[in-house]
């Protein structure tokens, strides 16, 4: 029965979306179903994000999963099938894991465990987030699977359960990265505490602390490939996530956000495990009735139920906050006084997965108390409750919840990707390494809209940046500190100003999708609500806009066009500054408008750079402007050739300023104390002849040293994996010998 249910759950997602289509969009960007090979190559492998000016940050945790999908795609080329298998694993894996946990905890009937598994899968948290699923959504099956392995490990002391858990965790390392920190810290501390309490208090098992320690060391070591760079990212004060989570004033801002979303979760809906979209929602009342009756009808107080009940109530508090005004007040104090707690600003969404995990266990344990007491009615009762749990979520089962329309558009989220778009991305990969890309139509945030060959459209992170190795600007967020400047220049139709802006940003190409189905009436608002007020509000207007800011058309297939900007206003990635133009920053300007402090200061030469006058280097005259050429070794390492450098000069690199970018000559770091920010965002180093041993012509290496953290971590991970495999083989070999030896 259990296997049949699991198989049904596994194959169900195959029928959610039309064949040949897949939901790729949203913040998470499920582009790994579209092109996992290039995604792994261009996104997960370097300490550099592909959008905009190249913010430094680690995304290595996604590499194992990307490579796994890439490997699978060589066997299963259809992305619809791949995505369906992924969803099927979440459903079947989640069900089987919860079933196994409940059988382990209660040793009771399979029926109660099945009901618990069904409640776990068919609650709002687990059903509402398959559409545009974030990477952390894998917790649907990972949470119960890991909880089961944790319990087995604590109870049996056998390392193989820890090793299996760690092996699975590597494949889904993105769930254990700091971008998924809220879901990790919401679940695992409580899961470990639950397993610990169950082992000590209920089963009275002695926990092998040495083995626990070894398992933790093994976990940390094998995840070092992303833990090490992420740790250094976290302690970088300029990191936005770090600031938002650990900075006191930013934490207070997150508290304001928390208060604003406080009305959203309802305590009663948590009790009923229900959501407004469920038909026959009234039947949801059976869920808490089973729980309370379970407490009442238990022949004697069951410690396991007590324990599960406690954890369910704690997580109910964390997922709603509103169990009294005092509870809300306490929650607010957590934001102010617990470092890092502000990561839970979206508390109701982040904690609901944990709540429903413990709630499902409690429900099942209660059911296992009730069923023996109802005698002959047990079968009918079980079937009745099971049907009620299933009928409530028919829109989920038949795919209606997943096969939806894009926000404020008649297009569907399920897209059959246009092959001409794929062809266009292939062309973009052949472009020279120098030069970033402006993506039009421009969006409010960072999205690109691509219409499919069906009635679907992709609305998500720009594939131009993620899949081609080029940096692109697709929205307002990505063009800062020039965001407001770009808006203003566009409104004023100041095309010369726009060309200057594109040059400062190293934008050499304009990618334009002229398809009216990605703009105009098909997307009348989102994701262009604000962009429309400043940029052309129709594709017809964009045609003129593109013609005015770009010159040469390099490519045109279908509705996809690629242009090159004017050569004389374009600045290469590396160049030497002609002069320094100091300016005074206006602290009232937001980070999106900082460029307004200097942009209108006239330049004599496009190689003149803007520098904040507080910077001591702004007072140093740039004495010369040597010839600079460069060659890309990798996206995080460049060889720069300098010629005729007889005087001090300012070497400029048009990537987002980060102290991790360093300049070396013959493996010696140069200009460590004169690394400055120019043009509001870029890197520059003041290099003197003395630093280069009075040579006029030489080669420099400009490298992002944070990439070395990944290499170090990777070495630790690989070494740990190899040693573990050898030790595992030896232990297995010894065990086999012991079993086969005659007594």
């Amino acid at each position: 029965m259990v296997i049949i249910i699991a198989l049904v759950l596994f194959f169900m997602p195959f029928y959610w979306l039309p064949a040949g289509t897949v939901d790729l969009g949203g913040d998470g960007g499920r582009l790994y179903f579209y092109d996992p090979i290039h995604l792994a190559q261009h996104f997960g492998t370097y300490s550099l994000w592909p959008q905009g000016t190249g913010p430094v940050g680690a995304a290595f945790s996604r590499l194992p999963f990307f490579h796994f999908i890439a490997m699978m795609s060589r066997v299963i080329s259809d992305m619809h099938t791949l995505a369906a298998i992924h969803s099927g694993i979440k459903l079947a894996g989640g069900f089987l894991s919860v079933f196994a946990i409940i059988r382990l905890l209660s040793g009771g009937t399979s029926v109660a465990a099945i009901l618990g598994g069904l409640l776990y899968l068919f609650n709002p948290a687990m059903t509402e987030n398959y559409i545009r699923a974030l990477p952390s959504h894998d917790q649907v099956f990972l949470n119960p699977l890991m909880a089961y392995l944790l319990l087995k490990f604590f109870l049996s002391g056998k390392m193989r359960f820890a090793v299996i858990a760690i092996g699975v965790s590597v494949l889904f390392a993105h769930v254990y990265s700091y971008t998924s920190a809220p879901s990790f810290f919401a679940f695992y501390p409580l899961a470990v505490l639950f397993a610990f309490c169950y082992a000590i208090w209920i089963k009275r098992v002695r926990i092998g602390w040495l083995r626990v320690m070894w398992a933790m060391i093994l976990f940390i070591s094998v995840h070092a490939f992303h833990f090490v760079p992420e740790f250094f990212d976290l302690i970088d004060a300029s990191n936005r996530t770090t600031s938002r989570v650990f900075n006191a004033s930013d934490a207070a801002e997150q508290l304001t956000y928390f208060v604003s979303v406080l009305p959203i979760p309802k305590v009663s809906l948590r009790w009923f495990a229900a959501s407004a979209w469920m038909p026959s929602i009234a039947w949801s009342v059976v869920v808490p009735f089973v729980i309370v009756c379970g407490f009442l009808l238990a022949r004697r107080p069951k410690r396991t139920m007590t324990l599960a009940g406690l954890f369910a109530l704690v997580t109910l508090f964390f997922s709603t906050a509103k169990v009294s005004d005092a509870a809300v007040g306490l929650y607010k104090q957590f934001f102010l006084f617990i470092p890092g707690f502000s990561m839970f600003r979206n508390f109701y969404g982040q904690w609901q997965f944990v709540f429903f995990f413990f709630y499902s266990i409690l429900f099942s344990l209660s059911a296992s108390s009730i069923l023996p007491r109802v005698g002959r009615l047990a079968v009918g009762t079980s079937i009745g409750v099971g049907l009620l749990l299933i009928v409530r979520v028919i829109p989920f089962l038949n795919g209606s919840l997943v096969n939806q329309k894009n926000h404020l558009s008649d297009t569907r989220v399920a897209i059959a990707m246009d092959p001409t778009y794929t062809e266009t991305l292939s062309f973009i990969r052949t472009l020279p390494t120098d030069g970033k890309i402006l993506v039009l139509p421009f969006t409010d945030c960072c999205y690109e809209v691509v219409h499919g060959t069906n009635d679907g459209a992709y609305v998500g992170k720009s594939p131009v940046g993620y899949l081609t190795g080029k940096h692109d600007f697709a929205g307002y967020d990505e063009i800062m500190p020039f965001s407001d400047t770009f808006w203003r220049l566009s409104r004023e139709k100041n095309y010369q100003g726009i060309k200057k802006l594109l040059g400062i940003l190293n934008i050499r190409y304009v990618f334009y999708n002229s398809d009216p189905r990605v703009y105009d009436a098909t997307f009348p608002s989102y994701p262009y609500d604000y962009a429309r007020k400043h940029l052309p509000d129709s594709q017809e207007g964009y045609r003129e806009f593109v013609d005015r800011i770009a010159t040469t058309r390099l490519y045109s297939v279908g509705t996809f066009e690629l242009y090159e900007t004017e050569r004389h206003s374009y600045l290469p990635l590396f160049y030497s500054a002609a002069a320094v133009l100091p300016y005074k920053d206006d602290p009232r300007l937001s980070e999106y408008a900082k460029a307004e402090a200097f942009f209108e200061i006239p330049q004599n030469n496009i190689h003149d750079v803007y520098m904040e006058q507080n910077d001591v280097l702004s007072k140093n005259a740039v004495a010369s402007s040597p010839e600079i050429t460069y060659h890309q070794i990798s996206p995080v390492k460049y060889k720069v050739t300098v010629s005729a450098a007889t005087e001090p000069y300012l070497l400029v690199m048009l990537m987002r300023f980060n102290e991790g970018w360093k300049v070396y000559s013959d493996m010696v770091q140069l200009a460590g104390n004169s690394h400055v920010r120019v043009n509001g965002y870029a890197n520059a180093w003041y290099i003197t002849p003395g630093a280069t041993r009075m040579q006029n012509s030489y080669e420099l290496i400009v490298e992002l040293d944070k990439q070395r953290l990944f290499h170090t971590g990777l070495a630790v991970s690989v070494a740990t994996a190899v040693v573990s495999l050898i030790m595992g083989a030896l232990v297995y070999g010894n065990n086999s010998k012991n079993h086969s030896s005659p007594v």
Binding site: K266, V267, S268, L269, R270, W271, F272, A282, V285, P288, F289, V292, C293, F295, L296, P301, T306, G309, L310, L313, L316, F317, K322, V323, S324, D325, A326
Partner: protein, 105 residues
């Protein structure tokens, strides 16, 4: 005087407990308040009754069942209204109280 009060409390145990039930139901249905004072004073008094009358967790869970019934009716009739949410909060604290009693038992 003290002995008289204790005798009265023992003699009228069912009345006292009924009053508590009525206070809880009134807080949910009629007062429609979100005041913590009412909630915690009543809850503290109920805990006092548990200690005084040595009530079992079953009594608390029976009260929970009653509150759950009110919450369910309110949910079906009015959705996630103030009454439904208030009942949900009471259910939380009653089940918590019952669980703590079970641990002691």
């Amino acid at each position: 005087m003290g002995i008289t009060v204790r005798t009265i409390l023992h003699q009228y145990k069912q009345v006292v407990l009924t009053i508590f039930v009525l206070i809880v139901l009134s807080d949910i249905v009629f007062f429609k308040t979100e005041s913590d004072v009412m909630l915690f004073v009543t809850l503290a008094s109920y805990v006092g009754c548990i200690l005084y009358y040595k009530l079992s967790s079953a009594a608390t869970f029976r009260l929970s069942l009653l509150v759950l019934g009110v919450m369910s009716v309110a949910f079906i009739a009015t959705g996630t209204s103030v009454i439904t949410e208030r009942a949900a909060v009471w259910l939380f604290f009653l089940i918590l109280t019952g669980i703590v009693q079970q641990i002691k038992e």
